[in-house]
Structures are given as C-alpha cells and as structure tokens.
C-alpha cells in the first residue's frame, strides 16, 4: 500500500514538474517576444500576430504569471487606433479605416477598464476621446449632439486620471469650441439666419 502511494505521489510530482517546465518555456518566449514585437510594430503595424508568442500551455497562464495582460491589451488598442488613421478626415477615410476606428473604441474601453497605471489610463482615455471626436466628422447634427458631449466627458476623465497630461486639455478645449459652434449653428437654423452647420475639420488638433 505504502509503495503504491509513493509511486502515485512520484507520478504526480513528475507531471507537475513537466507542467512547470513547459510553463517556464512559455514565459521565456513571451518575455522575448514582447520586446522584439515592439520593434516589429514600427515596421509592420498591420501584423495581427504582434505580441503573441507561440505557447505550449494556455497563453493566459504565461501572460498572467508575468502580469502583462494589461500591457498587451494597451498595445493592441494603440495598434488598432493607429490603423484607424485618426488624422484622416471622415469623408476621405474608407470603410476599412472606419472599421478600425470603431473597433479601436472597443479595445480602448476594454484596456481602460482594467488599466492599473493612471498615466497610461489617461492616454487611453485621451485616444478614446479622439475617436469619439472624429466620429462626428460626417457633419450630421444629430451625430454631433450625441458624440461631442461624450468626447468632452472622456477628455475630462483623462485629465482626472493624470493631471500632467496636456493632450486631453487641448482636446477638451477643441471639443468645447466645436460644441459652442454647434450650438450657434443650431440657433441660426432656428430662424436667426446665417449658414447651416458644415462639417468641421475635426482631427487636426491632437
């Protein structure tokens, strides 16, 4: 009986050892891949396998052990944000660019909700605000009314997360001006005369 128990314990320990060894291999791969893909991103930002190391065990084990899930999420969000070419006007941007902008909002929201670093959270909120701001670029007054206050709120949240971040302050100023202009053009449409609202050159300030 004692011999059988000893054999069983040895087998369990051996299996545990193999798992730990494989985990060590995965962790080593992830560490190397993160740094290498930061460089690769500069030359090929459209690559979809960036920061994804090949793994033997579930990938979440090694990234979770290293505590870099939030780093990967932030990088993914930034990559898709850049692919959305935020400086390109809404009218010129093709459907693919628009789809990158929309999905970047979802990725940024996910990154923001789990971001422990206040400075990076502020940057992510600022990027989300920018995407909300340029979503009003099609000049539709109803869309503007929906997105401009939302963008202003996001920039305020970004400022609250990191007061030293100047970008959301600038972008909030721009958004408030656009809201004021929107209000004035709304009044002019309501019988005071003047031109109707035109599309803004949104996206030139950030």
């Amino acid at each position: 009986m004692r011999r059988a128990l000893g054999l069983g314990a040895a087998l369990v320990l051996a299996a545990g050892g193999v798992v730990l060894l494989l985990l060590a291999v995965d962790v080593n791969r992830v560490e190397g891949r993160l740094a290498a893909d930061d460089v690769a991103y500069r030359t090929a930002p459209a690559r979809t396998d960036l920061w994804r190391a090949p793994h033997v065990l579930p990938a979440a084990w090694s990234t979770g052990l290293l505590g870099i899930d939030d780093d990967i999420r932030a990088r993914d969000a930034l990559r898709v944000f850049k692919l959305g070419h935020p400086r390109v006007l809404f009218f010129v941007a093709g459907p693919e660019v628009i789809s990158f902008r929309s999905s970047a909002q979802a990725l940024l929201a996910r990154a923001i909700d789990s971001e422990p670093d206040a400075r990076r959270r502020s940057q992510e909120l600022n990027m989300l605000g920018v995407l909300q701001l340029i979503a009003v670029g099609n000049g539709d007054p109803q869309e503007r009314q929906r997105f401009l206050p939302r963008a202003a709120e996001t920039f305020r949240a970004s400022m609250a997360a990191d007061a030293a971040n100047e970008d959301p302050k600038f972008n909030l100023e721009l958004t408030l001006r656009m809201m004021e202009k929107q209000k004035q053009s709304g009044e002019s449409q309501n019988g005071k005369g003047g031109v109707a609202a035109k599309g803004q050159n949104a996206g030139n300030g950030y």
């Binding site: 898709v80 459907p95 628009i98 902008r101 929309s102 999905s103 979802a106 929201a109 909700d113």
Partner: protein, 235 residues
C-alpha cells in the same frame, strides 16, 4: 456545436440569427445545423431574426424544441435546384420584407432589449451570422459591444463562413475568445467537446450543499444513534 457550449452554462440566452441575403447556401446549412443543435428539450433560449431590421420571434426562456418549426425554412427542398445548380429553400415569412442589407446592431440590440425587459442581468447572446454588416453599422456594433461588456452580458459568435477581415473586426470588438466553433456532434471531437462543456458547467451549489448536509446528518446519526456495543457474555 453542442447546445451545452453554444450558450454559456447557467445563463439565459438569446440566439440572434442573420437571415439577410448575404448568407449563401453553404452557410445556410451551417445555420440549420446550429439550430438543430440548439433544439434541445433542456435548453432555454430566446430567438431574434434580423437583416436590416430585427424581430423577436421567441422571448428568453423558450424551450429549445420550439426552434423545430423554424428549421424547415433552412432545409433545401428535395429534388429542386436553381438554374445555377444551387438548392432551393422554402419561401419564408421574412423573404420579401426582411432580407435586405445587414445591420447586425439591430439584432444584437433587440436581443439585449429582450434580456433587459425580462430582468435578466447576466444574460448571454449568441450571434449566428456571416458578420458582413453595413459599414455605417460598425460604429453601432462597437458601442453595443462596449456597453454589453460593461453590463456583464456575454457575447458569443458562430460565424457563417465570415470573411477573415469581418471575423477580425468582430474579434476586436467582442474579443477573440467570443467565437464558438462548429464542433462535430459525433466522433472523438464531439465527445471531447461535450465532455469539456460538461466539465466547465457551473456546479449546482444548492444541490451539492443539501447533499453534503444529508451526508453529515447520516454520519451523525450513525455516530450518535448507532447500535450499542454490548459487552460479551462471560461464563
């Protein structure tokens, strides 16, 4: 795709089915297989059909077997082919008015509204679609994705032969792990899939607690009220 894993275990779900014209013949067969797997007596779900508008066919909590009458609309008519050799499907109630462009956000929103209306907090939505939504709808889908995740509504997607770019887009919005595979219902693959679904199913804690309580009571009974061990008769 066994029903156990199509919708998350222990959650009330709504299945959102794309019936737009962009769905081809082969994906239509996948759709039929998906409906058949969900058609289970112990499954409870709601059903929303959509193309550019959405319609709630069944409210959440409807038995899965109620899907059976719908399945015939996705089954090709025997012995009939189009001039190009494609199978012919029966005329559906939504053929004329309901199969224009694809606005996936309308289907997702209708499903979420149904969950909210029925007071289901941690519900789940299974989207069955080719994911070819209109470009102007993507922003709405992304907004819904953000709001649903924050509200704790789980989204699962069964892609009907989606284009890689569409699959990547929905993966970014809802997470790459939101896609469910169409696993083989039979064979080793199907068995493994079912086993995994069973193992990941939530434990009925109340039942387990009651069983442990009964076991403890039985043990206490044996300990306290067991037969007295009388001393042996001495000569």
């Amino acid at each position: 795709m066994p029903p156990e894993s199509a919708l998350p275990q222990g959650r009330s779900g709504v299945v959102v089915v794309d019936v737009s014209r962009s769905i081809g013949v082969s994906p239509e067969r996948t759709l039929l297989r998906a409906l058949k797997r969900l058609d289970s007596p112990d499954g409870r779900l709601g059903l929303v059909l959509f193309s550019d508008i959405a319609y709630e066919l069944f409210p959440p909590g409807t038995p899965g077997t109620e899907l059976r009458p719908i399945e015939r609309f996705f089954r090709p008519l025997k012995g009939r082919k189009t001039s190009s050799g494609d199978p012919v499907f029966p005329v559906t109630p939504w053929d004329d008015s309901f199969r224009g462009g694809t606005q996936i956000s309308t289907g997702i929103k209708a499903a979420w509204d149904a969950l909210k209306r029925d007071g289901i907090r941690n519900g789940a939505i299974l989207l069955v679609s080719d994911l070819a939504t209109e470009p102007d709808d993507i922003q709405h889908v992304a907004e819904l994705g953000i709001a649903m995740r924050r509200a704790g509504v789980e989204m699962r997607i069964l892609g009907l032969a989606p284009k890689p770019s569409d699959k990547a887009l929905f993966g970014r919005i809802f997470g790459a792990d939101s896609f469910v595979d169409e696993a083989p219902p039979v064979g080793v693959g199907g068995l493994a899939h079912r086993l995994r679904a069973r193992l990941t199913a939530p434990l009925p804690w109340a039942l387990a607690g009651a069983a442990l309580g009964l076991l403890a009571a039985l043990a206490a009974n044996e300990l306290v009220c067991g037969r007295l061990a009388l001393p042996g008769r001495t000569a």
